[in-house]
């Protein structure tokens, strides 16, 4: 999933809008500039300038004359004010009465345009060659035939008209010398350029903003990946922590078992050993006779056997755990296996008489008869150890009881050898731990190895153990695997 930079760091659309506005304004003003320049390129005459000068000049002359200045001085004053070639006063008949150039005085206005202006009383101007040499302030400046621009503003109510002389070449050269671009055009162009610069600045700013946005997006992506990596590490660390806790719990459990084993050894071995030593010392020191002597010797034999049994079991467990069971499976008829189990019990536990009933059918099983005998003996001994008075062995092709617990995986198909007793049963809360090493019920007098050893033997044969228990007795059922192809196994 793509990661986006945090809100507020993303480039705003306002920048785009602003840049677009500036671009549009720049283009609009540029178009206006072109249009204005096109319009301004049209010929512009001097008419307005002449009229404006003539009115200002007339006002100045009138003011000067009214102030008592001589007309000759008034026209010079006005010429200097207007900065033109010459100024003259003309009467209603067209005669020049005063002029900045003396030779003009007394002359006549003869241009049809100017005469028409005089007649109509309206302003008029014309470019025309002069018919005589002219001077300015006594200095010859113009020769006959030179072209001058003459502008005439008729006087009102019989007053003198004002005649202005312009250097037409200077006027036209001034216009032609200009850039040909009016100030307004330049101003418009400047505004268009400013808008364009503003748009460019906005776009550059936006470009920087986008660059920064991309950088922040990359940083966010990097941080997201780092976060994911840390999460993976956290999971791994959590798993490692759990494994360590499990290992610690296992180690603690082993320590507990080892401590209990030491306690058990201390109790189970030292107690009969102490009894043996005490009995032997009593025989040596007191030298009893008769019934007492027999009773002490009987106790010595009992405790000695108990010690022997304990040591035998410990050695058997150690041997199995270190080297495994010596297991030689053979195809055996089920009836023969049941006979072997019954014979073993009739020999070892002769004071009790377990029953063995062969099944109606006689399938072939794959087992080791010696291990099977040891297993059934172990389970029968365990029953007698825990208070059973009668133990019965029953062989069947069908499972008898619905078990409370199954140790291992029941083979399929299987046959069943059940060892049932009439003991007090196994407490339900202890049942799940009954087949663990050194586990024994608090009221048990066993070593905690009998059922553990039974489990090891069952696992070695590919068999499983099914346990059903109640206050009236317990049934351990050995589920033995059947041999699948009887003809190829050479049944014994």
């Amino acid at each position: 999933m793509a990661t986006r930079a945090p809100k507020g760091t993303r480039p705003s659309h306002w920048w785009i809008t602003l840049a677009a506005v500036f671009v549009v304004l720049s283009l609009a003003v540029a178009v206006a500039t072109v249009v204005h320049h096109s319009n301004a390129s049209r010929p512009i005459g001097e008419g307005q300038l002449f009229l404006s000068d003539a009115r200002a000049g007339m006002e100045q002359v009138t003011e000067d004359v009214s102030a008592g200045m001589a007309p000759e001085d008034a026209v010079r004053h006005t010429r200097n004010m207007l900065r033109i070639e010459g100024v003259a006063l003309v009467d209603a008949g067209g005669t020049i009465t005063a002029a900045t150039s003396d030779p003009l005085v007394g002359g006549m206005v003869d241009s049809p345009v100017l005469l028409d202006a005089l007649d109509s009383g309206r302003f008029g101007a014309v470019a025309a060659p002069i018919d005589q040499d002219l001077e300015i302030d006594g200095v010859p400046e113009w020769r006959r035939g030179d072209a001058l621009y003459l502008a005439l503003l008729p006087g009102v109510d019989g007053a003198s008209s004002l005649l202005l002389y312009y250097d037409i070449s200077e006027l036209l050269a001034r216009r032609a010398g200009a850039l040909g671009i009016q100030t307004e055009t330049l101003q418009l162009a400047a505004v268009a350029i400013l808008f364009a610069i503003a748009a460019l600045a906005v776009m550059i700013g936006r470009s920087h903003s986008i660059q920064r946005y991309r950088e922040m997006t990359l940083e966010a992506e990097f941080l997201r990946k780092e976060s994911e990596s840390l999460q993976v590490h956290n999971v791994e660390l959590d798993l490692a922590r759990r494994n360590a806790e499990s290992a610690l719990a296992l180690a603690e459990e082993k320590n507990r078992i080892r401590a209990e084993f030491v306690l058990m050894i201390n109790h189970e071995l030292r107690t009969p050993l102490t009894s043996v030593v005490t009995g032997a010392e009593l025989l040596l020191m007191a030298d009893p006779d008769g019934a007492d002597r027999y009773e002490i010797l009987e106790a010595l034999v009992h405790d000695g056997r108990r010690l022997q049994t304990m040591i035998d079991q410990l050695l058997a467990v150690a041997r199995v755990e270190n080297r495994g069971l010596s297991f030689a499976p053979q195809p055996v008829k089920f009836s023969k296996a049941c006979d072997a189990v019954a014979l073993a019990h009739s020999r070892v536990v002769s004071s009790h008489s377990p029953d063995c009933h062969p099944a109606d059918t006689d399938p072939t099983v794959l087992t080791d008869l010696q291990t099977l005998r040891n297993l059934t003996s172990s389970l029968a001994d365990n029953a007698f150890t825990h208070g059973a008075r009668n133990v019965r062995i029953h062989c069947s092709t069908n499972e008898v009881h619905e078990p409370h617990i199954i140790v291992g995986t029941v083979p399929e198909p299987a046959v069943y050898i059940s060892i049932s007793d009439d003991g007090p049963g196994i407490r339900p809360e202890f049942l799940p731990r009954a087949f663990e090493k050194f586990e024994k019920d608090s009221r048990s007098s066993g070593t905690g190895l009998g059922l553990y050893m039974a489990r090891l033997m069952a696992e070695a044969m590919g068999a499983s153990l099914l346990v059903w228990t109640s206050s009236e007795g317990t049934t351990f059922t050995i589920a033995l695997p059947r041999a699948m192809v009887t003809s190829q196994l050479g049944v014994a």
């Binding site: 049209r42 010929p43 512009i44 005459g45 001097e46 008419g47 307005q48 002449f50 009229l51 241009s111 049809p112 345009v113 028409d116 202006a117 109509s120 309206r122 302003f123 008029g124 101007a125 014309v126 470019a127 025309a128 060659p129 072209a147 621009y149 502008a151 037409i168 070449s169 200077e170 006027l171 036209l172 050269a173 001034r174 216009r175 032609a176 010398g177």
Partner: protein, 124 residues
């Protein structure tokens, strides 16, 4: 054959160009100036100016720097005037430089109104 083709090409190009002149007829009116040709040979150029308008007009000839080479008198309506002027190689403007005021007081500058013609003078 090849030379003939080149000659025909030169003739064809030449036929497309306006021939340079030393004289021209110019019609002036309200408000325009229309010379019969716009390309002249350098040297003395003779212009026959006819005012076909209803008011008087002038013909002022200036170069690109604004210098006046010729400024004739007012030509009355219906009259013809002949102007001779020496023109060097370059560009020139033919204008009317009359400013008047109508009955409403509006300034009418003939040049502004369009009495302008541009001509070119080439090497002789």
């Amino acid at each position: 054959m090849r030379k003939l083709i080149i000659l025909m090409a030169i003739l064809a190009v030449s036929a497309c160009q306006e021939p340079a002149a030393t004289s021209a007829d110019i019609e002036i009116y309200e408000f325009g100036i229309e010379p019969s040709v716009t390309s002249f040979e350098a040297g003395t150029v003779t212009l026959n100016v006819e005012n076909t308008g209803e008011y008087g007009h002038t013909l002022v000839i200036t170069d690109t720097g604004g210098h006046v080479l010729s400024a004739g008198s007012v030509i009355a309506p219906g009259e013809t005037s002949q102007v001779s002027v020496d023109l060097a190689e370059g560009e020139y403007s033919f204008t009317c430089r009359i400013v008047s005021q109508d009955g409403g007081g509006n300034v009418i500058d003939h040049y502004e109104q369009g009495m302008l013609a541009e001509v070119v003078v080439g090497a002789g």
